[in-house]
Symmetry: C3
Subunit: 657 residues, 3 copies
């Protein structure tokens, strides 16, 4: 477990580099990421490279005992590349080209940009691939940031046609799979197919989904090109990409197959202010700490990308500049977030950024130091974490006993066909995640494509639109308690309703049929009842379920429709349950799975790493941690002040699989 920092030597006079490096080392920082936006300095003119400054920067850091992560600079293509190849830019859905003057203006499908990327990455990797200080490489940065996965350029559309031809083989097969007989949408050739935008009304949902699959594959293809170059020139170095939080525009599980490490950017206050699924009340309540599950959700997700290896590449160190409101974190929160990441298994937490830059787009984004170089609150707290880390190195993260299934294509299908304006895939999954966390549980967020689910005692599956027979087999083989939410198995891979109706292949585990669905406005809540008692309420989405075979109805909605169904180890929730109801029902599943639960509330959350049990208080009030009597705390104490963390060694046998 190490601390890192993001540093931009090109933005500061060379005269301060050495002192910066010295102070980084003194603070306890071990790893420095550099160079990921510096293309115009590496290659000031086409084909003319200037490595002198970067040689020097790496040397200075290395000499101070720091390790370096090099980012390829392709997220910020230089101006001269546009003079040569105006067609490298992405086009928006209205056909407007993206302009130069910020970053990420490129189109993943542009052949010219692909070649230009290959050149700069090759040149950079050839020069630094085997540099002893360079321990890892980051490809590009934040693929898709600023809504840049989807492009509607001529190159993209042409490659989409090829992608369709490869997927479907013949236009007849595509017409059949897409159901193009509907509204006379039939094609005579792949060349007739355009992007699913600019139409009078909805595109065929499979048309839209295939464009998103294609675009996701384009990102993967582009990244693989960079990875292959790095594998050649930088053998033995970790290759990673730096992902974002709550960003699902391409399939991260797919892309991560080419990486060694997944890293991501943790801005808890920015997310709390902007993610769609939180209410204004929640935004206000957690404005200075972040919602208690907002970082953890992503930690647990990214831990699942590269066999458990993950970093926080950019850790919020003070107010950000990009949310609707940008408050300061509670004092202590930067330290707490850092420990939280370690509790969830991070190898590295790297702060963004060493020093706030006083000019250009991010001038209002704070860092560990103020623009004039004095240490800021985040810097002080990072220093404290470094001191604590020196005496406290917990073991590796273990597989949790609870798995929550997350699927990028399910997100796209929700986006394309929400069927109700309040339906949001992240919101549905987050509600389940948050309920499980309120039970004090450790959770692995895993892809539906996971090869084996063995080792899990409880598998939670909200809103997984496509469930095929193979997945059913793997889930069954796990022996775990299974809980499915509404909309599970609602679609085929071709974005159609499955034969025999939803939940399709899932019926093998859970004999039932969803005869219809409904969505409900905000403000509608329907009671869920059992044995004459109201268990709670549901809203937003309801499946009208007909139980088949021995499937038992455990609770019903007020109008008599089944609300909770059960068959053996498998449960189905037929609506979007309120947080309280979801908590109760997931607790019942956890108990059936033999998992001990420990309800926590307000801002307290628990997380185990190795022999250490962590408790994190996100709330504005003190909280008592559920430690055994006479616990010796290695961090914090039984009564946790706001924005702080406690940890203690667990004597009991490890309860993981």
């Amino acid at each position: 477990m190490k601390l890192g920092v993001c540093y931009y030597p090109e933005q500061w006079p060379q005269s301060v580099w050495r002192d910066d490096a010295r102070r980084m080392a003194a603070m306890g920082i071990r790893v420095v990421r550099i160079a990921e936006f510096a293309w115009s300095r590496m290659e000031p003119r086409p084909g003319e490279y200037d490595w002198a400054w970067l040689d020097e920067a790496i040397a200075v850091l290395s000499e101070a005992g720091l390790q370096v992560v090099l980012g390829t600079p392709t997220a910020a293509p230089p101006r001269w590349l546009l003079d040569r190849h105006p067609d490298i830019v992405a086009l928006d859905a209205h056909g407007h080209p993206k302009g130069f003057g910020s970053r990420r203006h490129y189109c993943f499908s542009s052949p010219a940009f692909f070649e230009a990327s290959r050149s700069i990455v090759t040149a950079m990797a050839a020069r630094y691939g085997q540099h002893p200080a360079v321990i890892a490489w980051q490809t590009d940065n934040e693929y898709g940031c600023h809504d840049t996965v989807l492009s509607y350029s001529a190159a993209a559309v042409e490659r989409f046609r090829g992608w369709l031809a490869a997927r479907y083989g013949s236009i007849a097969a595509l017409n059949e799979a897409w159901g193009n007989v509907f509204w006379s949408m039939e094609y005579a050739s792949f060349e007739q197919i355009n992007a699913p935008v600019g139409l009078p009304t909805f595109a065929n949902p499979i048309h839209a989904l295939d464009y998103r699959r294609f675009a996701s594959d384009e990102v993967k293809r582009y990244n693989r090109m960079q990875v292959e170059i790095l594998r050649t020139h930088a053998p033995g170095r970790d290759v990673l990409h730096n992902f974002m939080g709550f960003f699902g525009e391409f399939d991260h599980h797919e892309l991560a197959q080419d990486l060694d490490v997944a890293s991501w950017d943790n801005y808890p206050l920015g997310f709390t202010d902007t993610v769609r699924f939180l209410s204004d009340d929640e935004r206000l309540r957690w404005m200075r700490s972040g919602h208690p599950d907002i970082s953890a959700f992503n930690h647990d997700l990214y831990r699942g990308l590269c066999k458990g290896r993950w970093w926080v590449m950019e850790q919020q160190a003070g107010p950000v500049n990009w949310a609707n409101a940008n408050p300061a974190p509670l004092p202590g929160m930067v330290r707490t977030w850092t420990w939280e990441a370690f509790a969830h298994g991070a190898e590295l937490v790297s702060y963004f950024r060493w020093r706030q830059v006083p000019y250009a787009q991010e001038q209002m984004h704070s860092g560990l130091h103020t623009p004039d170089g004095r240490i800021d609150v985040g810097g002080t707290e990072a220093t404290q974490v470094a001191r604590e880390l020196a005496r406290l190195q917990p073991g590796p993260a273990r597989q949790a006993r609870v798995a929550l299934v997350f699927d990028y294509a399910a997100k796209w299908m929700h986006d394309i066909q929400p069927h109700g304006t309040d339906i949001d895939y992240y919101g549905e999954v987050f509600a389940w995640y948050s309920a499980l966390r309120r039970l004090g549980l450790d959770i692995d967020i895993v892809p539906a494509s996971r090869e084996s689910f063995s080792g899990y005692a409880l598998i939670a599956v909200p809103a997984l639109t496509v469930i095929d027979e193979a997945l059913v087999g793997r889930l069954r083989a796990s022996g775990a308690q299974l809980v499915f939410g509404p909309r599970c198995g609602a679609k085929t891979a071709d974005f159609a309703i499955p034969e025999g109706l939803p939940p399709g292949a899932l019926r093998a585990l859970l004999p039932m049929r969803v005869n219809r669905v409904e969505t409900l406005r905000d403000g509608v809540s329907i009671a869920v009842q059992a044995a004459g008692q109201e268990l709670g309420v549901a809203g937003r989405w309801r499946d009208f379920v007909e139980p088949l075979a021995q499937t038992e109805v455990q609770a019903r909605f007020a109008d008599g429709q089944p609300a909770i169904l059960r068959h053996g180890r498998t449960r189905y929730f037929a609506g979007c349950f309120s947080p309280a109801l979801l908590l109760d029902q997931l607790e019942a599943s956890a108990r059936d799975a033999g998992i001990g639960v420990q309800r926590v509330d307000d801002g307290l959350r628990l997380r185990r790493r190795g022999k250490l049990q962590f408790a994190i208080n996100h709330g504005p009030h003190s909280a008592r941690v559920p430690a055994p009597p006479d616990t010796q705390f290695v961090l914090g104490s039984e009564v946790l002040p706001p924005a702080s963390v406690a940890a203690w060694e667990v004597a009991a046998p490890d309860d993981a699989a």
Copy 2:
């Protein structure tokens, strides 16, 4: 009175057609609409027709004893037509062409599309025009759906110039009529005139209005082309178009002059969720039944298009897929809606659709059957209606005693110049309609262009911006009580303030002058008082009226401005009254007209057809119907459960004119 269904044989294997047809007949369905989106199957390649499948489909239906309505397929032009004529597509106000991949991408003004339409309609009509099973033809489908009346293509602009030349004769006349001296907007030739979009600020309102008139005429011209072909090849068959609810982008009264029957699409829950003029409270309250007046308003409107002949071509049969939230109807509601349509005089109610299609854009739109072919709630309720119809055939609808004037151009003028963001023509007219319905009255919604208003005892005229002398004459000749709302007579046909100020020609009936108007924010309500008592409140819009001659002020606003004026049989309401005040004041007018009123509240509504008096309960609670003691009910009973209908024979003499 018959039941029908919408069916898409091209979307299902031929092997199931015969069974489908058999079950339709068994259910009590008599009429099947087919083919309206099947152009790519009728003409798979340019000029190559494939009629075999359609021959077979019609034969199968016919052999099962079913009658067929054939839709021309022009709402869904095939992909190959775009290869040949890229210019058939409509352009939006920003100049972006509409893309292929859904439907209705065509421009009504495109010569190439006009010719292609002529060809396919001629070919289809030539083949099936005299087929004995084909009882009617539908032109295209839902003209204007997805905001497709207005196109800004080069062809549209060129035809607009011609339309202007024909209307005004000379550019000098246009400049004069439009008032183009204002802001130096004068033209030297018709060729200088463009569409009224993309301007720095508002277009001249008459410029905008003329573009909408032109676009409406283009729809009429296009439809007439289809009708003429059908008249030639399908003599004696009813020709109809299938309109939508609350859709006023072209003049339906005008277009319907070329038709035999008007049909429309009744989706009460979708409308309730999406029409602009309902509040969120109303949307929640009526989410499972539809607002009690939402279907009836359109029934009464469409009954007025073709001398009383009208159908419901698409009847909601379960949840739809296109509203912001898509709840399931109350059990019984599909039956109730069907009877409601018959109560209002429908010849046919045709459900959408026989079976939910599991793929493409409408996969989440329910039908009478689930995608796997099992009967759904709507199918069961339709079956019940069919059984009930077998023993109960009320006579024809009669002219009502109350007329409500609806005018498409008035809607356009409200859209172009709302003068306040909360002003909405449908909302104003609907408020009056709803108040009259709460009085238990039957209503005819009639055009301002109606030749004679004789037979009406009360004529209600809300928000009719243009009132000319001829209309004043026809209204006067009716001998009816007349009630006008704010903004009546506010404009000339050239979208100017009339000489001598509003209400212009109406002054002959009602001596008064509107010296100024004001609009008010949501939340402003002004008391209306008479004889020291508050009668109620008004808001949104106020006319400042000066009574002339013997016009009496019956009530005043709190600031002393006249609120209710009366002259002989004519009343004027000088503001937008709250529902309660509107109810009271329209009741007073009805009483003066000698019309017996029967206040109903909550979700109960009354409607007479022939000798049958219907009572319909839209509410979530039981309701007592206002039937005489000892009534023998032919449907339902005195106490109506939610979502149900009662009917009884009326012994009293028909109270119509």
Copy 3:
């Protein structure tokens, strides 16, 4: 002090002109503005002028004893100019050209439009420049109305490059000043720079700011061209431009350097309904009178443009047509607004318009007369003012003792980098202005560029983002009490954080450092405390300030951060204070400055002109004016009814500097 009116002879039959002129004179009107939209009548075809009608119009007015202000007609370029030069139009940020059919479609950077403007202005000025009745010339009208300052035409972008070259000298200097090393945004030549629009994310803020500076300069350049022509042909006549309220898209202080008089358009109800910074409650409360400070703010601003010479060129005379809701003013309000303008020092109040025009875009905009020529409420009230003016001519406005600094570039910087969605420059400045007015004070709104601040006892400086050493020197030299608000000195002229952090150069007056800032959602309020007492609350924006040297912390936020700092005569408020707290704190500053305050509340406001003290009641209730006992009122009386004005002579010595 004179009354005027806006008149459009071209819109009315020549036969009524003489009677109109006679009635104007009889009403007490002395000045008539004409011609500012009549290009198509002055030059019906390219190069063919028709002056006959205008000769006659001027003659008619002149013969009635009226003086004429002539507007150049360039705000409404005629259609034929577009045939010749399609490139005169502005392009929006998406590249869409603005269409013909309203006004202001031109681009300030278009060479062809520049030349066409030169021609028509020259021709007009040559003909009427020395006409004895023409006392003044207005250039164009309402520069920038309908969001027309910014254009993205090729001509604009090319001129922007030249502007940058002139400003920065070399591309290296620009790269350095802009910080283009960030995100590889470096340029190799000025030709590579485009407008800061259409980018994937934020533009570099200095890029955006320079485009706005450039656009502002373009307006100034265009106006100067007109002014120079007028100076040549119309010697001795006042040259003015007619500005708008709350419109800050170009630098009015800069442009006004070329003018003799500043005039503006006072529509209090329209502003109250539409300015961003008022709440819905405030809009409702003041819907019929306008917010009590909404006109005065602009009066005091425009008085500062041309050494105190200013007019109201368009005074609201009844309901307008362009707000979200358009209510009628309270009876008496038109008179009250007129007197309010005179109280603030206006030389002329000119009503818009003589007679409501019944056609085209402004047909719903009222005037002094109804469209049929009868006098309307506004006309009656104007007549009353004219009678009152005949006996009451107060002296000139004096310099106030309180200055409020307003800066157009600060507005642009807030727009470009609000750092929180609720932050609005006008809103911040208006809050301070309103608090000072609630203290009964007269205020001068002055530019930061003012040469000397001497004579002021209190200078209030909210949200002034750039403060340089020279300004610090001028402020210090004034000897006044100084109050600064949050964000003062936050940026350099190159839109960067100053060295040593904010408040930059201001530190010389106020030793302190802003280490970080935060923005807060609506609903967050933080207590401000001193000596254990809560003084009030703050929100929206907070500076985290570290006091240096002898700077005293007078109050702190609840979390201990300094809230009010003081050093000698200088105070700093470190957050956006609630109205009540702002009132208290500004009162303390005023007392320290030796200024007597007189708190007024509700809708009452005070204003001195010459020896007359005015009190104006904007509220819906009567108010008691703070006049000494036994005051002899020259207007009104001690108890002021709603919508009225009182005035009395002040015996006390003038309290100005």
